[in-house]
Symmetry: C2
Subunit: 350 residues, 2 copies
Amino acid sequence: MTQLAPSDKALVPFVSVDHMMQLIHHIGMAEMLRGLARYIEADFKRWELFDKTPRVASHSAEGVIELMPTSDGETYGFKYVNGHPKNTADGLQTVTAFGLLADVDTGYPVLLTEMTLLTALRTAATSALVARTLAPKGATTMAMIGNGAQSEFQSLAMMAIAGITHVRLYDIDAAATEKCARNLAGTGLVVTQCKSAEEAIEGAHILTTCTADKAYATILTDNMVGAGVHINAIGGDCPGKTEIAPGILQRGDIFVEYPPQTRVEGDIQQLDPDHPVTEIWQVIAGQVDGRTSDKQITIFDSVGFAIEDFSALRYVRDSIEGTEFFHPLDLLADPDDPRDLMGMVMRSQG
Amino acid sequence: MTQLAPSDKALVPFVSVDHMMQLIHHIGMAEMLRGLARYIEADFKRWELFDKTPRVASHSAEGVIELMPTSDGETYGFKYVNGHPKNTADGLQTVTAFGLLADVDTGYPVLLTEMTLLTALRTAATSALVARTLAPKGATTMAMIGNGAQSEFQSLAMMAIAGITHVRLYDIDAAATEKCARNLAGTGLVVTQCKSAEEAIEGAHILTTCTADKAYATILTDNMVGAGVHINAIGGDCPGKTEIAPGILQRGDIFVEYPPQTRVEGDIQQLDPDHPVTEIWQVIAGQVDGRTSDKQITIFDSVGFAIEDFSALRYVRDSIEGTEFFHPLDLLADPDDPRDLMGMVMRSQG
């Protein structure tokens, strides 16, 4: 007797990179970013009920591999993600990722998906959700410093969610800026290519830094940043990797995702461990103030947190239902009699 | 321009449940168990160079979902595994699992595989490797108490690796014993079905307990166990779940995989936190003694450790090379220009 087809319970919906790209085109990039922001906002508002733990990181000389688990009590999710700054030189992605959702009551996975693209989308959606909350009223212009893989997603999310109409691009590599400008052509954003970080931040209300060097870099120096801006600091996201001069951090009000993680990985690793920070979910949930003055410098020291991935995984699970943008993966052994794993193996021989 | 085929780097070899069953038949169950034991033995001998951390567990009322990562500095591996004792009543597996290997230098995954079957195999191979090391000389008979999904794998591994020729089966559910005996018919093992745990251990040199209740159960009571046996305690593997009477643990010499994990999850959770235990890798590596007398009771308080999964993943990676027992999974976004993730998405629209 041969069991040709595994049972339904054994099959986990899998979203490949190709399917994810099809899903993006099907929904539309701007709408998908807004949808993700809605899911992230909803989960930020129920932040307290999540299992939270700093990510489990395995560091090496070349980079880091991380597992980021969380659970809302009904659904469990985790993301596998690497960060290898030198990969780019070898034609590889700095960051690749995949993720999974599972049912807490049974432990059975219910979704496996690529998350390289999805992480780019959720990072941008999170940045824009926070910028919409913290940026000065009427903000229309963003400086985008670092024009790598994340830069277009940041720009489009800021347009779709936070009302940005102008982006000013700068990268130490002019080819990266050229690439970013090319990809943003026709999106409706007014794009200016700049020759320095100083030029890029001229007139900008939102300053986004997203550079990849694993180094204590200073992308924004103290004298570059005046009053009344929002800094969206994306690239300082692991120990030894920072972008913002400590003087700016001292002058601004700092908002973070999860302090125990950000104090180790974020730009605030440069500050005292008890430097005051505000958890951004409390602002989103209306529990504490965000921006309180036009002159204030607000800083979102973003390192990415498991709950944002959880929101993104929920969004994908709900979005693929009834579509053809996934295929069933034979991931779980599921014999007719759960105690008869060996019998299943024996019968498979035919 | 449409990119129809993702590049090689984007494709991760995936071993489905069906492929794993084909691989088992291709290699042969006994030889695969021996092969796994060789890989586990090799990794036990270089135990000290691994990144070790207790598994990352998410507990709920119904069970637990765990991530078990480790790395040898060149290769990173992790397993996702759940443990839900009540699943069986709903026709689901108590334990399902999948796992992944990745290249430490790039963070890119190199293998994704089902691990429900593979976990059953590696658990049995580990038990038998340890029994070969600790059981009394000339041991031929094993009592197998708990005749669920793991029982046949334990029996076959003990035959293939530790020289066992006779197994004596007992389960509180006679149907489970019947199933186990049926699956072991024709394997060369002499199988005896018993009506009690007491009957099962008559004349046995190795006592294997592998029951699934999430409870402080006492499968082996103090007066049941005499001198000169090896106890292979598999089922006591999470907080609140034990099988062996404390009196037996006090009389025997206890061997464990990784003390920080076993003291929380193993049968020794019933003992003082400083009760002496021996790390089994030290015995395998020839650094410390295992069994030193025929009268001794040796106890392997096994809870499973990430390095055993790592060994199993390495074995599968090496075994599928050049075979058809996997297929390439489009898991990683890999644009021609790594900084041009958005361009890849845009071009995929055609």
